[in-house]
C-alpha cells in the first residue's frame, strides 16, 4: 500500500477531516458522542449475533464437556475430565483421528500439485479459457448432499462406475468402492479431490494473475525454458497463495463431516474406515443422546484444529500474513 496519504501510514483512515468537523477534536480520545453512538449502533447488532451464535456455543461446549448429560434440564452430573479420558481410550475415536490425519496429508499431497499443474495449464492463453475455468469450478458449487448422493449411486457394487470399467475391458478393476475397508478411504479421497480441486485451481489462477508478465518475459529472453520459468519464477511467487490454500485445506480436512456422513451414513463410516472426528462426534454425541460427551469431542476437535492452525501460522504463514489476518495495520 502506498503511503501517499499520511493518514494511511499508521493504518486505517481517520473518521473525518478536522477542519470540516471540529467536534471531532473534542473529547479525550478524539471522538465525540455522535461518533460513539454510530459505532455502537453499527457494530452492536453484529457483535450480538456473532457472540451469541459463534463464541458462546464454543464456550458452552467447553463447560458441558465436563458433565455426563443427556440433554434434559441443566447438567448436574459433573464428571471432571472423565469424558476426555474416555475419548482417548476409545479406539473408534483414535481410528477417526487417524483417518483425519490421512485425509489432511493426502489432500495436500494429491490436490496441491495437481491443482498447481492445472492452474499453470489454464493460465496459458487459449480459446475457451473462461468456459474451462467455469466448468472446473462446477463441482465446488454443487452441494455436498447432491455430490454424495450421486457418487454413492454411481459407485455401488452394481453401479455405473463398475459397469463402465467392464465395458472398457477393465473388469479386473471392479471393486466395492464404498464398502471395502481397504478401498473406501481412497474412494473418499477421489471424491474430495473432485469436489474441492476447483477451489484450489481458482485460488491459484487468481494468484498467477498477480504475477507480472515482465518477470516471465525477462526469464524467457534470458533463455529459460517454459518449465524452468514455472519452477524458478512462477512457483516461488505463487508461494503465499499456495500456503493459504494449504491452510484452508488442512482446516477443512480436520473438520470434514458432510460427505462422509452422507455417503457412508452414521454407522458404516467406522467400519468402512472413513469415519472422521466430526462424524464420531455426531454419532456418539447427539445420536447416542450423550450431549456432555459430544461436547467434549467438539472441544477436542476444536483444540486439535486450533493447535494445527497456530503451528501452521507460526512456522509457515508468518511471513505472508503479517498484517493480513492479524489486522492489516489495525
Amino acid at each position: 500500500m502506498s503511503s501517499s496519504n499520511h493518514n494511511n501510514v499508521g493504518g486505517g483512515a481517520v473518521v473525518a477531516p478536522p477542519p470540516a468537523l471540529p467536534r471531532m477534536r473534542k473529547g479525550r480520545k478524539g471522538i465525540g458522542w455522535p461518533a460513539r453512538l454510530e459505532i455502537a449502533l453499527m457494530t452492536g447488532p453484529t457483535l450480538l449475533v456473532f457472540v451469541t451464535f459463534v463464541i458462546l456455543p464454543v464456550a458452552v461446549a467447553a463447560y458441558y464437556g465436563f458433565f455426563s448429560w443427556q440433554g434434559y434440564g441443566p447438567p448436574t452430573n459433573f464428571v471432571g475430565f472423565r469424558n476426555y479420558i474416555l475419548i482417548f481410550q476409545d479406539t473408534t475415536f483414535i481410528d477417526a483421528l487417524k483417518h483425519n490425519a490421512i485425509i489432511v496429508v493426502l489432500s495436500l499431497v494429491i490436490q496441491g500439485p495437481a491443482a498447481i499443474l492445472l492452474a499453470l495449464l489454464l493460465n496459458r492463453k487459449m480459446r475457451g479459457q473462461t468456459l474451462i475455468r467455469v466448468l472446473v469450478f462446477v463441482p465446488y458449487v454443487i452441494s455436498e448432499v447432491v455430490v454424495g448422493t450421486g457418487w454413492s449411486l454411481m459407485l455401488q457394487g452394481d453401479g455405473a462406475f463398475n459397469a463402465l470399467l467392464e465395458r472398457f475391458g477393465l473388469g479386473w478393476l471392479h471393486n466395492d468402492w464404498l464398502s471395502d475397508p481397504g478401498m473406501a478411504i481412497w474412494t473418499l479421497m477421489g471424491i474430495l479431490t473432485w469436489k474441492y480441486i476447483g477451489f484450489a485451481v481458482i485460488l491459484f489462477l487468481a494468484g498467477l494473475q498477480g504475477i507480472p508478465d515482465e518477470l516471465t518475459e525477462a526469464a524467457a529472453i534470458d533463455g529459460a525454458s517454459y518449465w524452468q520459468i514455472q519452477r524458478r519464477v512462477t512457483l516461488p511467487l505463487l508461494g503465499p497463495t499456495i500456503r493459504i490454500w494449504a491452510f484452508l485445506s488442512m482446516i477443512g480436512a480436520l473438520q470434514l463431516f458432510d460427505l462422509v456422513y452422507i455417503i457412508w451414513g452414521q454407522y458404516v463410516a467406522a467400519t468402512a474406515g472413513t469415519s472422521t472426528m466430526a462424524t464420531y462426534m455426531v454419532a456418539n454425541g447427539r445420536i447416542a443422546g450423550e450431549y456432555g460427551y459430544g461436547n467434549a469431542v467438539a472441544v477436542v476437535l476444536f483444540l486439535i484444529s486450533l493447535t494445527a492452525a497456530l503451528l501452521y501460522q507460526r512456522f509457515v504463514l508468518r511471513r505472508d500474513t503479517e498484517g493480513a489476518i492479524t489486522g492489516a495495520g489495525i
Binding site: 463464541i55 466448468l135 494468484g207 489476518i325
Partner: protein, 284 residues
Amino acid sequence: MATPTVAIRSGRRPASGNQPVYLLALLLIGAMLAPVVYIIIGGFRTNAQITTDPAGWPNPWNVNNYLDVLGGEVFWREVINSTVVATSTTAGVVTLGLMTSFILARYRFRGRGAMYSLFAAGLMFPLTVAITPLYILVKTVGLMNTLPGVILPQIGFAIPMTIIILVPFLRAIPDEIQEAAAIDGCGRLGFFWRMVLPLSMPGVITVAILTFIASWNSYLLPLFILNRETTFTLPLGVQAFASQYSVDTAKVLAFTSLSMVPALVFFSLFQRRIVGGLTGAVKG
C-alpha cells in the same frame, strides 16, 4: 458432450504445441462433468434401464421422473424454504457485515483492534465444533424447526469472512473523497450511504454470492435444527427423498439434478464476480 468441443473447434489458429494442452483440458472437463452428467441423464432413464445397464444412455428418453418431481408439492416447498433461508442469510450478512466493516475501516476508536481480532478469530470457530451446543442453544430459545433457527447462526458464522473481505475494500476508498464529501456538507452517515455503498459494491457482491451458495448447500446445521419435514431445505430434502425412494433410483436422480439447478444458474450468472472476488481476497 457438446461443451468441451467448443474449446477445440474454436481454436482457429492452433498455436504450436497447444494440442496436448487442449487434450488435457478436455480430459479434465470430462472428469469434472461426468458425475454431473450421470445424475442429469440418469433422471431421464427408467429403473429397468438402470438395472439392465447401469452406465447406459436413456433409450427411450423418459421425462416422467422429472415431471413427477416438478408436479409434486415437496420439491417446491423445499425450494421455497431454501430460498428464504439463503436470501435472509445473505441479506443479514451483507447488512451487518457492511455496517461493521465501515466502522472498523474508517473510524478510529479504542478497542477497534480488539474488535477486529475478535471477528478474525471467528475463522477458527467452525460450525462443526459448535454444532452440539448451538443445537442446545437454538432449542433453548425456542427456534427449533423454524427457519430463523438456521438463518441466525448462519449469519453469525459468515460474519468473520465477510469482515475480512470488506474491511480492506472500505479502507481503500481514499480519504480525499470523504473530505470532499464533508466539504459539500455530507456527514459520516451520508458518506456511508452515498459513497461507501456504491464504491464497495464489487466486494459486497462477492460476499453475497459466496454466502448465498454456502447457505443454499449447507447441510450440518439444518440437519440438527430442522427435524420437521415441512421445514426441510433442499439438501435435507434430497437426502430424505433418496432414503424414502431408495429403490426408485431414476426418480432420486431426477430430484437430485433438479435441486442443483438453482445453485448452478446462480453461479453461472455471477462466476466472473466469484473469481474476481477471490483474487481480491487472496491478495488481502
